[in-house]
Symmetry: C2
Subunit: 351 residues, 2 copies
DNA sequence: GTCCTTCACTGAAGCGAGTCAGTGAAACGT
DNA sequence: ACGTTTCACTGACTCGCTTCAGTGAAGGAC
């Protein structure tokens, strides 16, 4: 190859395959351009420790790499290291809303800053789980619910060392992060109790797929009620249909038990449905019934009455998750759980 | 290696690395167990054409693979074929809601059925685009908006042959699918016109990041108005804040122009905000102002009044997108655009 | 009986990196 | 002056797979 470095012409026309396909530059190309061996290129570009390479050479290599626009092939790297820089999130099959959307974004951000690539895969409800991780070989996979024994083993057998569940007990053997969802429940109950409500209701989501999410929130409400000396909350499922909401409101109003004066909703969507239902029945909110949600979705600010809700600092949470994963990947102890300050009440009109 | 096939003992204990890490079975393991060469294993498992391999042997190989729980290493495959089975969707940095969530799920389904693995990557708004595709080497990448020239070239230079934008003109050189978003706008306008409304408004999203989505919808409304002989719609941005909604409603009510009797909202979220705002001002919906949304989010069914909206068959759309991509990957002509039947009006109370 | 096909496979060459074990040359110690 | 250490590298192997170019044996044609 003619040495073009000496001339001022930087010819970086991408080489062509025999088939005419563009071929991206490889470490060998960089090596040739810098006048060193492939090994040296690898050492320099990876900052491999215990390798005596003078700054002159390092500079030459880096310059060559930059000029060629070289980036290592992820596939080759994954092949030899056994894992990629990818961290895979398995999305649950239940409807993902803006909250999960935010979490994705924050996670991507937090992980990206540490040099990892974050991707999400929606597990299709219909078909059996294809082994996504085999197509990606991620460094770790994140799930919402804990994996079943069988699946966890299959993961492990596929060579993926780390899998983390966001929800679920952080039991002895378990690899769950135990995201503090019950705190949202506690906050809801505490806020209502502080306004003098003594008999609370819980608007449970009607979708069986979200129990993992709903359970800790309800648990939080229950705990708070117990601690504050209130009766346990009246739990009522609230389907997102006009009739369903209507019936739920009747139960809250005392159809078969003591009437409640305030309800904690599983999330803002359910809370908003309750607000609308109350209006249809001529109930005043918060006069006849106070309602508090979770998530602070955009619609919560513009409803009538405006929805009081619990907001979580997704970004902080995401950073914690990212940190934990990276530390575990490095074999270091897990990161410290974020404090209680990541949740806060957004006080508006409904409670 | 002792031939264990003859005995009834199937010893499939995963082999260990020197480092003690689990090693997944490779094609060589399968070959050894089946008593053939690695090449044969590859031919059998990939059903490589023009290869004379008797069914006996095929069976043996497949059995061995099944017993060992063998699955090819995606990394190795990607390394040699130059691309993976992964199709990457770049999520826009604007808030993703349940509609996008549905689309993800449907796409994952449709693509998965064809043997592809679908993953989504949220592009973080803050940091410059990391080249995700380099960490994944996808067969194709899907974007919402069309990529900028520079980015498209970088993609191409990274060896990714196919990139598709969901929105944007399907111009001459462009690789856009031109998802028929303006149809939703047309449907909205046509529905309102059919109810006798002559002066329409358009509730434009206040978030500048969603213009690509909003523009075609508004275009659709404009087209329909023109065709039906109505005045062009009064376009008003509607921020999702109480004040913002209030001001928007005043404009719709004739604050600086002819008052409108019905408004098409960019989506259900905006529509719902309008509904709440109207209530605060004591306006009757649909009496004083009819409102129609897009998306049919769960909350639309339980609002007061219940929201009339336009729903899209995400699954059909996703199948079309998946088909198009796969056909283009194979060099076949693109799939036929789905008909107008993928959008339909969900008629409720608000219009 | 010889030559040519077809059959049923196999050996080996790569894909693009990471990494270990060297290897000459220079610097240093005594 | 001679042995040892450090420096600055490089050659070659490896990861798991696809694929091309054979290769020996059996079968068929003449």
């Amino acid at each position: 190859m003619v040495d073009r470095v000496a001339t001022n012409v930087t010819d970086v026309t991408p080489a062509k395959h025999s088939r005419g396909r563009v071929r991206r530059p490889t470490a060998a190309d960089v090596a040739a351009r810098a006048g060193v061996s492939r090994a040296t290129v690898s050492y320099v570009l990876n900052d491999t420790p215990h390798q005596a390479i003078p700054d002159r050479t390092r500079e030459r290599v880096r310059a060559a790499a930059a000029e060629l626009g070289y980036t290592p092939s992820a596939a080759a790297r994954a092949l030899i290291t056994g894992r990629s820089d990818v961290i895979l999130l398995l999305l649950p099959d239940w409807p993902i809303g803006s909250t999960v959307g935010h979490l994705l974004e924050s996670l991507s951000d937090a992980l990206g800053q540490q040099g990892f690539t974050f991707v999400a895969h929606p597990r299709s409800a219909g078909r059996p789980t294809t082994d996504v991780w085999k197509a990606i070989t991620p460094a770790a996979v994140i799930t919402f619910e804990e994996l079943e024994q069988v699946e966890a083993e299959r993961l492990r057998a596929a060579g993926i060392e780390l899998s983390v569940a966001l929800l679920g007990d952080a039991g002895p053997a378990a690899r769950a992060m135990d995201i503090p969802e019950q705190r949202t429940g506690r906050l809801q109950a505490e806020h209502l109790a502080a306004s003098g409500h003594r008999q609370l209701g819980y608007a449970w989501p009607d979708d069986p797929r979200v129990v993992t999410f709903a359970q800790p929130r309800l648990d939080g409400v229950r705990q708070a009620c117990a601690e504050l000396g209130l009766d346990p909350p009246t739990v009522v499922p609230v389907p997102l249909t006009p009739d369903g909401v209507q019936r739920a409101l009747e139960v809250f109003h005392g159809a078969d038990g003591p009437p409640v004066s305030a309800v904690c909703a599983y999330n803002d969507e359910v809370a908003l449905a309750l607000l609308a239902g109350a209006r249809r029945q001529g109930l005043d909110v918060p006069g006849d019934l106070a309602v508090i949600g979770v998530d602070d979705i955009p619609s919560a600010a513009v409803s009538v009455p405006a929805l009081t809700t619990v907001r979580a600092e997704t970004a902080v949470l995401a950073r914690f998750i990212a940190d934990s994963i990276i530390r575990q990947l490095d074999g270091r102890p897990a990161a410290e759980r974020p404090g209680s300050d990541i949740h806060s009440i957004i006080r508006r009109e409904s409670a």
